[in-house]
Each structure stands twice: as structure tokens, then as C-alpha cells.
């Protein structure tokens, strides 16, 4: 025990001796958190519309005003020729063109149906899809309004209707930020913990100081614990700090039990740092370990369900995410914070993390033996 305390003391002195390390460990991630949470938004607003209204009837004007009144759209201008409209899209001034052909209103009154054309800049498929949904719902709404006004009531009576009412639980204001914040926090904590651990040991190797430790009577497990604990404490502290910032700046809801969250976080960090340890045992230089961890991190992050839910992945990819530790903590942190889920709701994920921690730490310790 005393030996471990000495190693801890050495590690902490080493970490905090370097004046640039402190801001890197604590200030940068927090700045990142604040900035990134604000970036990572899919709340669409200010979609720029250019209108090509060749009909110039009261109906077409009314419809355009409906677009302008919506919080998502902003009617930026009108042109009288479709080619000019497309040019505005190329220039990046317009995201969507609404083209109302000549005789639109007449046709609607006489033949009961009439077409309008919508052109969407679809280079970003995701936002184009959302834009399309919004535009269509405005048109549908408008369509319903004019039908109500113009139809005589008798025919309407025969029409069956299903009335759907929605309730959005756990996030009634549909804030995207409170969903992203825990996700980004998980990534920051993982990156800091994993990299620091991995780099620390490799640095000792590169500098040759690891040999000096190897010839002391320190046992392997003591060395491992001494290397893990400081970063584990730092990462947990970082997690708490991030949650606090989230609470203060983004009014992050903390619905569930915060102690439970830290218990899961403690186990998860053992896994993340264990991976860092393992990677450090298979590399010889800091540059190498950095790139190897970066490679795995990038893939782990992208497949953790931070941006897109895991359920939307193809089946084979979903099976592969079983080995992705970030995925489990990502799910659990969001469940606890936003939905107030309890232990029984995620015990399977939690036990998976426990098994993972034991396995990865054993492998790392075993590998270290062989190296020395």
C-alpha cells in the first residue's frame, strides 16, 4: 500500500510539474464542451427560400406567407425564372426553391389538384431530408386550411379522420443540446483519460526511465495501479466538472441518481484507461501510441451512437459495436441524466462494462510482464 502511495505521489508531481499540462487537462476540454455543444445542433432554422411565383394569385401569395411565418423558413427573395433560382442555390444563397407554375390557382379550383415544384440543395442529405419534411408539412397544413374554407360541409362529414396527439417525453422542448452534452462529455473524458495513460507509460519507455522502475522491487500490480489511479482520479474529476458546467450553462437536467452515474463512470473509466494501458504496452514511441489510439478512438466514437442512434446501423455493424466500450457509457449516461433510468434498466450494459474492465486490465498487466 505504501509503495503504491509513493508511486502515486511521483505521478502527481510529474503531471502537475508541467505548467502547460494543467490547462490542457482541465480548461481545454471545458472550452471544447461549451463550444461543441453549441455546434452540434440539428435544430434547423433560417432555411433560406427563394420563391419563383409565376402564378401571382391570392392562393400562391398566401402559401408563401405561410412559409415566411414558419420558424424554420426565411423567404429571402423572389425571382421569375427557375434557372435564376438554381443559380442562387449554386451561390449558396438559397437552400430551397419553391416554384409555383402559372395557372396554379385556376387548376386547383377547376380540376381539384395542382402541382408545385420544390428544389432542394441536397448535398447535405440529412438536412435536405429534414427541410423536405418541414416544407411538406407546411404545404399539407395550408392545403387543409383552404379545403376547410372552400368545401361545403356535407362532403367533409363523410370523411374519416384519425386525430393523433403527440407527447414528447423527457425533452418536451426538443432541445438537441441536452442530448449532445452528455455524449460529448463522455468523449472528452475518454480522450483525456486514455491518451494521458497511454502516453505516460510510452514516455517512460522512450526516455528509458521505465528500466529504472523495472529494477526496483515494485511489483507489477503496484506499478499498474500507480499508473492508473492518477488518471482515473483526474478523469472522474473531469466528469464531475463537465456535469457542473452543463448544469450551469446549459441547464442540463439531472433526472436520475448522480451517485449511480459516478459508479458506472468509475467502472467505464477503468475500461478506457485499461485500453490506454494495453495500447502503451504494444507501442514503442509516443507518436505511434498516439496514432494507434487515435485510430481506435475515431472508430469507437463514430460507432458509439453519439451522432446517430445505434439502432439505425446495419445488423452486422450493431453486432460489432459490442466491443465498443464508449457505446455502453454513452447509453447509460444519457439514460440516467435525461430519463432518470434506474439500475435495472441498464444492468446488462453495466455488467458488460465490468467484464470488459477485468479482461482488458488483465491483458494489459500480462503484456507488461512480457515487455519488461
Amino acid at each position: 500500500m505504501r509503495t503504491i502511495l509513493y508511486i502515486l505521489q511521483k505521478e502527481f508531481i510529474q503531471i502537475f510539474r508541467d505548467k502547460t499540462m494543467l490547462p490542457i487537462i482541465f480548461i481545454m476540454p471545458i472550452i471544447q464542451l461549451v463550444i461543441l455543444v453549441n455546434c452540434a445542433t440539428l435544430e434547423m432554422k433560417n432555411i433560406n427560400i427563394f420563391v419563383v411565383d409565376k402564378d401571382l394569385s391570392s392562393t400562391s401569395r398566401l402559401m408563401i406567407s405561410k412559409f415566411d411565418a414558419s420558424p424554420f423558413f426565411h423567404v429571402k427573395g423572389g425571382v421569375f425564372d427557375l434557372a435564376k433560382g438554381e443559380k442562387e442555390i449554386i451561390k449558396g444563397n438559397a437552400d430551397i426553391i419553391v416554384h409555383i407554375p402559372k395557372g396554379f390557382e385556376k387548376k386547383l379550383l377547376k380540376e381539384n389538384h395542382s402541382k408545385i415544384q420544390i428544389l432542394i440543395n441536397a448535398i447535405n442529405g440529412m438536412t435536405a431530408g429534414i427541410t423536405n419534411v418541414y416544407a411538406n408539412s407546411i404545404i399539407r397544413q395550408f392545403n387543409g386550411d383552404i379545403v376547410m374554407e372552400m368545401q361545403n360541409i356535407t362532403t367533409l362529414k363523410a370523411v374519416k379522420r384519425i386525430n393523433i396527439n403527440y407527447s414528447f417525453w423527457y425533452n418536451p422542448q426538443m432541445k438537441y443540446k441536452i442530448y449532445m452534452l452528455p455524449g460529448i462529455l463522455v468523449i472528452l473524458v475518454t480522450v483525456v483519460g486514455m491518451f494521458l495513460t497511454a502516453l505516460n507509460i510510452v514516455r517512460e519507455k522512450e526516455m528509458g526511465t521505465i528500466e529504472q522502475i523495472n529494477v526496483t522491487p515494485i511489483k507489477k500490480y503496484q506499478f499498474m495501479i500507480g499508473k492508473l489511479l492518477p488518471f482515473w482520479i483526474i478523469a472522474l474529476f473531469e466528469l464531475a466538472f463537465g456535469l457542473l458546467i452543463g448544469k450551469i450553462f446549459f441547464s442540463l437536467p439531472i433526472v436520475g441518481n448522480i451517485a449511480l452515474l459516478f459508479a458506472v463512470g468509475a467502472v467505464y473509466l477503468l475500461v478506457a484507461l485499461g485500453i490506454g494501458l494495453f495500447l502503451s504496452t504494444i507501442s514503442d514511441s509516443q507518436q505511434q501510441v498516439m496514432f494507434i489510439s487515435f485510430f481506435f478512438l475515431l472508430i469507437f466514437i463514430l460507432t458509439s451512437g453519439i451522432f446517430t442512434p445505434i439502432e439505425t446501423m446495419p445488423a452486422w455493424a450493431q453486432k460489432l459495436t459490442v466491443i465498443n466500450p464508449i457505446r455502453y457509457f454513452m447509453q447509460i449516461i444519457r439514460m440516467i441524466l435525461l430519463k432518470g433510468s434506474e439500475f435495472r434498466h441498464f444492468q446488462k450494459e453495466f455488467f458488460t462494462l465490468c467484464i470488459y474492465a477485468v479482461v482488458i486490465l488483465s491483458i494489459a498487466t500480462f503484456r507488461y510482464k512480457k515487455v519488461s
Binding site: 508541467d18 392545403n143 363523410a158 426538443m174
Partner: protein, 368 residues
């Protein structure tokens, strides 16, 4: 000059000796593109739903069947009381719960109106929104078919055309984004770390007292990375074209020239980072936090810049990848010429010069 090439050769040996890093340099873009292309999708597929059907008649059955046969939904649970709603949303076993009122079919027949309640887990607002709008569309279609024999009232039919990307392929976003990200990573991060390494190991001093001029040392250091980055850019463009049919509509020479410009910008940024960092760790963390995440998130790679708060939109004006991604999209997807991208090109050029001037200043100070 001969000395210089000797030095470049030494640097090449340094990089190529380390097979693992090399594998990752070339493996990373490929892995990333495959992940983006095959794993990350924005389509709703097999969204988990639970049904709380209070009336269990032929109409509610039919609607549930319609929902399930669409392929968007997967029924995970039939719920029989209110309490289970919260349980299934909290455990994540359902994303939405669809509740049918009592006497559903009867109400629809007699009163001409029946009620459905959709309860969604909106902790992930985006997918909640999508799932709900898909379900709504399916239910509405069902009703319209029920009303088919009644003379339809006026209908406005929107005809939608998706420009530049008919099938809403994600590849049009992630191929340019990945090029910008990988080049930044290899050029800026590798350079900064490899120069910082010489400092940390004390070998920089050895190099500085050698007959090589400082400028040659720096150039020698970055030359291998220029080559690696360039090869990677070409590989990504080819992969994008073969696997995901991402076209190169514009001029390929212009595209490669712009890539070279961006690579030089990233390298000069890497050099600048290395002049301010004492150790590899610091160089790495600065690259990591100051380059990586912003170039993913502040560049319009994944999230559109227009939706960000104004402060960040202003902030993103200083993000080099933003301009490069915009150039790539213009040339590759819209097929426009230099006339449309000269502004972005000028900005990148200006940035490169600023980084170089700053690095030279810093470097000189260090030598004194």
C-alpha cells in the same frame, strides 16, 4: 542541396521504419470512409416501438400491421397498462409508444373520428422527430385509403427535386469532410509531433548545429508528410468514386492543386504548433483539441454552419477546413470552375502565409 536530400531521406526512413504508424496513416481514411458509408446512416430502420392497444379491433390491428410492414418499425412489446409505458421508454426497449383509444374502430365508423396517442422518447429529439413523422405519414395514408371512394377535395401536390444529390446519399457530405479531416490530421498533427519529438529528445540542438539551415530542417521534416497526405487525398477521392459514386464533375487538376494548398496550410499550422510546445504530449493535445474537434464540428462537415449560434458562425470563419470543404464540394459535386472558389482559395493562401510568418518569428526567438 545534396545535404538537404540526405536529410529528407533520413526523415523518410524514420517514418517508413515504423510499419504500425504507416499502416494507420493509410488505414485510417479507408476505415473512416467505410464506417461513414456503411455504418452511419440517417435513415430510420427498425425503430423499436411498443403498442398499447386498448381496443384490439380489426382497424387497430391493420394500422399496426401497416406500421410494421413499412420496415421502419420493429414491435418490441405489447403493453397492457399505463405503468409499462414509462418502463419501456426508460429502459430504451421502445423509442415510441403508440396508444389506441377504446372502441377505436367503432369511433372511426360512427363519429368519423378516432384518437391515437404517440408518446416518444425525445431525449434524442432528432430521431424522435423522424420516427414520429414516419408513423404519422403511415397512419395518414391508411385513412386516405379508407376515404378513397369519397370525392377528393382540392389537393396541392408538391413535386420535390433534390439537386446535386438525387438519392440523398451521405457520401456527398462525408467524402469531402474526410479528406479535410485526414489531411489536417496527418499534416498538422504528425508534423507538430515529429518536430516536438526532436526537441524533447534534445536532437533538435544536434540538427541546429549541423551545417543544415533551419529552413532546410523544417522543409526536410515536412516533405514526407506532404507526399503521404497527397497520396491519401487521391486514395479517398478514388474510393469515393468507386464505392460511393461520388463524382468529380469539375477540373481534377484544380482539385489536386487546391488539395496541395490545403496541405501546405496544415503543415505550416503543424510547424507553428511545434514551435510553441515543449513536449510531444503538449503538441499532441494542442493538435487534438485545437484542430481535430473543431475541424470536425466547426467546419460544416457534420453539422451545417447556418444552424449554429452567431458567435460560433463567426468563429468558424477562422477554421481552414471550412473553406477547403466548401471548395471540394463546389468542384466535385457542383462542377464549378475557379471563378466560384477563388475567394476561399485566397483565404487559405492568406492563412498559410500568416502561419509561416508566425512560425519563423517563433523559431528565431527560440534560437536566441
Amino acid at each position: 542541396m545534396k545535404r538537404f536530400w540526405g536529410f529528407v531521406k533520413k526523415e523518410f526512413f524514420h517514418i517508413f521504419r515504423d510499419v504500425r504508424t504507416l499502416l494507420i496513416i493509410f488505414g485510417m481514411p479507408i476505415a473512416q470512409i467505410l464506417v461513414f458509408g456503411f455504418v452511419i446512416t440517417n435513415e430510420i430502420r427498425d425503430a423499436k416501438i411498443a403498442v398499447y392497444d386498448k381496443s384490439k379491433d380489426n382497424v387497430t390491428n391493420e394500422i399496426v400491421q401497416k406500421l410494421l410492414s413499412s420496415g421502419y418499425f420493429l414491435l418490441t412489446k405489447n403493453i397492457s397498462n399505463e405503468k409499462e409505458i414509462g418502463e419501456s421508454l426508460k429502459s430504451g426497449s421502445a423509442k415510441v409508444v403508440i396508444v389506441f383509444e377504446d372502441n377505436f374502430a367503432k369511433n372511426l365508423e360512427k363519429e368519423k373520428i378516432a384518437n391515437i396517442q404517440i408518446l416518444a422518447d425525445a431525449s434524442d429529439p432528432n430521431s424522435a422527430n423522424m420516427v414520429v413523422s414516419y408513423a404519422t405519414a403511415i397512419i395518414q395514408t391508411y385513412v386516405q385509403n379508407e376515404n378513397i371512394n369519397i370525392k377528393s377535395p382540392m389537393q396541392i401536390k408538391p413535386v420535390v427535386r433534390m439537386l446535386y444529390n438525387e438519392n440523398l446519399k451521405g457520401a456527398y457530405m462525408f467524402i469531402p469532410g474526410t479528406i479535410a479531416l485526414i489531411l489536417m490530421l496527418i499534416s498538422a498533427m504528425m508534423t507538430s509531433v515529429s518536430i516536438a519529438r526532436e526537441k524533447e529528445m534534445g536532437t533538435m540542438e544536434v540538427l541546429l548545429v549541423s551545417p543544415l539551415k533551419p529552413i532546410h530542417i523544417i522543409l526536410g521534416k515536412v516533405t514526407p508528410y506532404v507526399l503521404l497526405s497527397f497520396i491519401n487525398a487521391v486514395v479517398i477521392i478514388i474510393l469515393g468514386n468507386w464505392v460511393f459514386d461520388v463524382p468529380v464533375k469539375g477540373n481534377i487538376v484544380l482539385l489536386l492543386a487546391e488539395s496541395l494548398l490545403y496541405i501546405s496550410m496544415a503543415l505550416s499550422l503543424g510547424i507553428l504548433i511545434s514551435t510553441v510546445s515543449k513536449s510531444q504530449q503538449i503538441a499532441m493535445f494542442i493538435s487534438m483539441f485545437a484542430l481535430m474537434l473543431p475541424s470536425i464540428l466547426l467546419s460544416g462537415f457534420i453539422y451545417p454552419i447556418e444552424n449554429m449560434p452567431n458567435v460560433l458562425q463567426w468563429f468558424s470563419l477562422f477554421m481552414p477546413p471550412r473553406y477547403f470543404i466548401s471548395i471540394l464540394k463546389d468542384i466535385m459535386l457542383k462542377g464549378v470552375g475557379f471563378m466560384f472558389v477563388w475567394k476561399e482559395t485566397a483565404i487559405l493562401l492568406g492563412m498559410t502565409l500568416v502561419f509561416i510568418i508566425l512560425s519563423v518569428k517563433k523559431f528565431k526567438q527560440r534560437l536566441e
